[in-house]
């Protein structure tokens, strides 16, 4: 058996969380160092997985590990992990966000007010790493039970992280709202998953939560039957696709279930916002793809129009609401709704261009929002306000942050030579093939996005520094600079060299297209 690299990636943050808890509470720097070491280790391994992933080989899953977890009677649960072209970039993304998140949270006890996390960093990093372990776990799970197991692990630390270390004004409300939304979504999807489990088992005689087996059963026609739905006979996939897809897509911020997301972003501490917008929302979109579209492809075809409708609304509405915000975090939060809408937009096309674009957009948006939130956090820690009208001239005291934000802004607007263009262009191409009118409507968002991003850059980073902030803005730390540089370089690299990622995602898309029946 080969080195179980995926398990090591998943368990590194979980073990680190336990180790961190064992360090005495007052040794804050030891806590941070342990966290950083674990994050670097996980990042290195996820880079390794990304580099070693064989694109041209067999298009299925790689780095597979499989062990029986429970096998009793009709109940069979495996510990089964592996990555395909869709999930390998997301594992890498999680590694990057985890690494930069630790750097950003380090901070220091500044005379003008502490930056980063200074209150109980031990508990903070422990919960953050629990979350990271759950996120890694979902991306590599090939077993439905395992996927739910990690999915829930990724959800509940959010509550604590936001409620304890969040923005005082809204944290309790936002944390509870977020948790309830996500929990409702996941348990609704769980019922759908259980229905799939039993239906596939009855059809094939092999009861298992293994998604590959369930997928085989589906291809053999196990889900083609009818179910009784309030007296009407309705195809199985048509009934169960929506609960499963939407249940997960809640976490992907799909309109009209996006409401928790901007509130959560705003209330969360910087590193958690980065995680939340950077990877957690991808978790929802990814699980919706993996469990919804891949296991119930006929249901996906039946409901694609509805998903596209939701996504179109999300794209335009999110951008518009972002445009009228005066709080930087709310602005980025709603821009996330808009950009995640593009991911859903791509998924709803069910064709090669759209799905590839969705995969790229997940990565690109993850890096971009992580950067946005990191910069916003740095400004807020120093200026103690995120209100755009109260800020100005920030590029002078914080040049790194300013340049970072501008690069992020260019990505967000979909400028060529940045990752946003590489991602959004195929999405619109894909949608054009299916429903040109939706592409035209959604393209309005590009204009609005450009407007609010430019506006924000002008008012926050240029002009005069307000008198009350003059001299109060301390420079950012070296660690912050490392984080900004890492994220910026990634976006530029992906924009200049799309071949770094596009072929890998296409290899994942190909197997999805097979499930959807050619096309």
């Amino acid at each position: 058996m080969n080195f179980p690299v995926l398990s090591v990636i998943v368990f590194t943050p979980l073990v680190a969380a336990v180790l961190i808890l064992l360090i005495p509470a007052d040794r804050k720097n030891e806590v941070r160092t342990t966290a950083l070491v674990a994050a670097v280790f996980a990042l290195a391994l996820s880079v390794w997985v990304y580099a070693q992933y064989a694109i041209n080989a067999y298009t299925g899953y790689q780095f597979i590990e499989k062990m029986t977890w429970l096998s009793v009677g009709n109940l069979h649960i495996d510990y089964h992990v592996g990555v395909d072209g869709m999930s390998a970039p997301l594992v890498l993304l999680t590694g990057i966000v985890m690494f930069t998140g630790v750097l950003i949270s380090w901070g220091k006890d500044d005379p003008h007010g502490p930056t980063g996390i200074q209150d109980r960093p031990r508990e903070f990093f422990a919960f953050l790493f629990l979350l990271a372990g759950g996120v890694f776990g979902v991306f590599v799970s090939l077993d439905l039970f395992l996927l739910f197991f990690f999915y829930e692990i990724a959800v509940f630390p959010m509550y604590l992280l936001i409620a304890i270390w969040g923005w005082v004004k809204t944290r309790e409300y936002a944390a509870m709202k977020l948790t309830l939304y996500l929990f409702i979504g996941s348990v609704v999807a769980l019922i759908g998953a259980l229905a799939m489990y039993w239906t596939a088992g009855q059809a094939t005689g092999v009861y298992t939560f293994d998604m590959l087996k369930i997928s085989e059963a589906q291809q053999a026609g196990a889900f083609n039957g009818l179910v009784n739905f309030f007296g009407a006979q309705v195809p199985f996939q048509v009934v169960w696709f929506l609960p499963v897809f939407l249940g997960f897509a809640v976490l992907g911020g799909i309109w009209p279930f996006h409401n928790w997301s901007p509130d959560g972003h705003v209330a969360a501490p910087t590193a958690v916002s980065m995680f939340h917008a950077g990877v957690l929302m991808k978790l929802g979109a990814f699980a919706a793809l993996r469990v919804g579209i891949m296991l119930l492809p006929d249901g996906a075809k039946y409901w694609a129009w509805l998903i596209m409708l939701f996504a179109t609304v999300a794209v335009v509405y999110g951008a518009y609401i972002a445009f009228v915000q005066t709080d930087m975090k709310y602005m980025i939060g709603f821009s996330s709704v808009s950009h995640m809408g593009l991911v859903m937009f791509g998924l709803s096309t069910l064709n090669k261009d759209g799905l590839t674009g969705a995969g790229l957009q997940m990565f690109s948006h993850g890096v971009m929002t992580a950067l946005f939130f990191a910069v916003t956090g740095m400004i807020y820690d120093r200026a103690h306000t995120r209100q755009i009208p109260e800020l100005g001239g920030m590029i002078k005291p914080l040049p790194w942050a300013g340049v970072g934000f501008i690069i992020g802004g260019l990505v967000s607007m979909g400028m060529p030579f940045f990752s946003g263009f590489v991602a959004e262009f195929p999405i619109f191409m894909g949608v054009w093939q299916v429903m040109p009118i939706a592409a035209i409507i959604a393209s309005i968002s590009i204009v609005i996005t450009a407007a609010y991003i430019m506006n924000n850059i002008r008012r926050v980073f240029f002009g005069e520094v307000p008198a009350n902030l003059e001299g109060h803005i301390s420079p950012i730390t070296a660690l912050d600079k490392v984080a900004i540089a890492t994220l910026c370089l990634l976006m530029v690299a992906l924009g200049l060299f799309p071949w770094l990622m596009a072929p890998m995602i296409q290899s994942g898309v190909n197997s999805i297209l097979t499930l959807l029946g050619g096309a």
Binding site: L70, V72, R120, F150, R171, T179, L180, I184, V187, L194
Partner: protein, 481 residues
Amino acid sequence: MYTPTMLLAILPEILLLTLGVILLVVEPFWKAENRRNAGWLTFGGLLAVLFISLLLARPADSQTVFGGMLRYDWYGFFFKMMFLFAAAATSLFMMDHEKLGRRGESYLLLLASTLGMCLMASSADLVMLYLAIETTSIPLYVLSGFMLDDKASTEAGFKYLLYGAVTSAILLYGFSLLFGFTGTTNLDTLGNALAAGPNMSGLVFGVILLLLVGLGFKISAVPFHFWAPDVYQGAPTPVAGFLSTASKAAGFAVLLRLFFAAFPGYASWTSVLAVVATLTMTIGNLLALPQTNLKRLLAYSSIAHAGYALIGVVAFSELGRASVVFYLLAYIATNLLAFGAVMAFSRVTGTDDIKDFSGLSRRSPWLGLAMLAAFLSLAGMPPFGGFVGKVIVFAAAVDKGLYALAIIGILNSIIAVYYYLNVLKFVYLYRMEGENEETHPIPLTRPYAIALVVLALGVVLLGTLFGPWFNWSNLAALNLF
């Protein structure tokens, strides 16, 4: 006719009785300041009983002993081990309780009640069953009202006694009707006799309702739950913890065996139970929402958990039964952990109002983590036992097409998440008045530390390496009769 198997079948009971006698003889000779050691004796003794039974008294195959009075099988054995474990944890919790800790008789009552539960789990005869239930209940009545100088405690004891007496009389009436219909009190022949006899659906349905009153009281199912919050709040907390875990599990042990043995052909009881389960979950969770006292909140939450476990019973399948057994196992560990953490806190602070838990994680990070594990497990979050228990129960329901029940269960677990997280908000987020938590630490005495660590590890173990545990639950649930 005597066989060695008969002794093995009741080995845990014999050992429990021996332990009780030793305690009774030794304890009066100890000086007053050493009386707390009775707790260590009980704890060590219970562990010894547990391990000796595990080594020697594992059943080979299901058989009846003592003329059909008891059944010697995995089902009974598995439950006995659960009760012994719960009693051991409870004896640790009792040690540093102001009123219970230094009184030999409180430990003796605990042992007597545990003995009754062990018999409940293995009874195969209505007469034996009734005696076992009373053996369990009477010591618990006394324990609930143990603090004679405390009004709430005496009220709790009296209330529990009154409710218990009435419901057990109704249960007995049901038993007598069953005997009247079939001429037998033996569970094995009862089912066949009912099936072979004339069709008496209406009458049998009535009997089922009578039995449900008695057992519904034990498992605190709605509408027989009224006693639970008052008794849990008033009774000494270790006793409340024991009531809400072992006593409830014993009720379920009887419920499963009795209903699956006696009425396999009368499917009507599953629909009655479906209604009871729905009401129990919903009312338990809704009433837990406005609670300001943590013990009352836990009481309502434990009502709700009885409802979730009932879903597995309603599924009426092998998987359903196994899921109930596993659910109870996870629930016992989790709820004991929750009650233990509350006890450790209120022993120092003298209060168990939710608002007084503010700043707990700063006063004692480890106790805060124990609360976190307990409440997240109750809420059904991984990697804790509660998650696996809930998923398997729902899986059993969906297997049998009980989508409505599964969805009701899910809606309820969402309500529950709200109030469990609310408690954690006090523990982790809010500050004590004056924000000087460092000067108000919460020291844990050794018994609490041992119990909380073992229980917390157990809850995580049940949620991660659940394979063997579910295997044993399944083995237990395979043959009930």
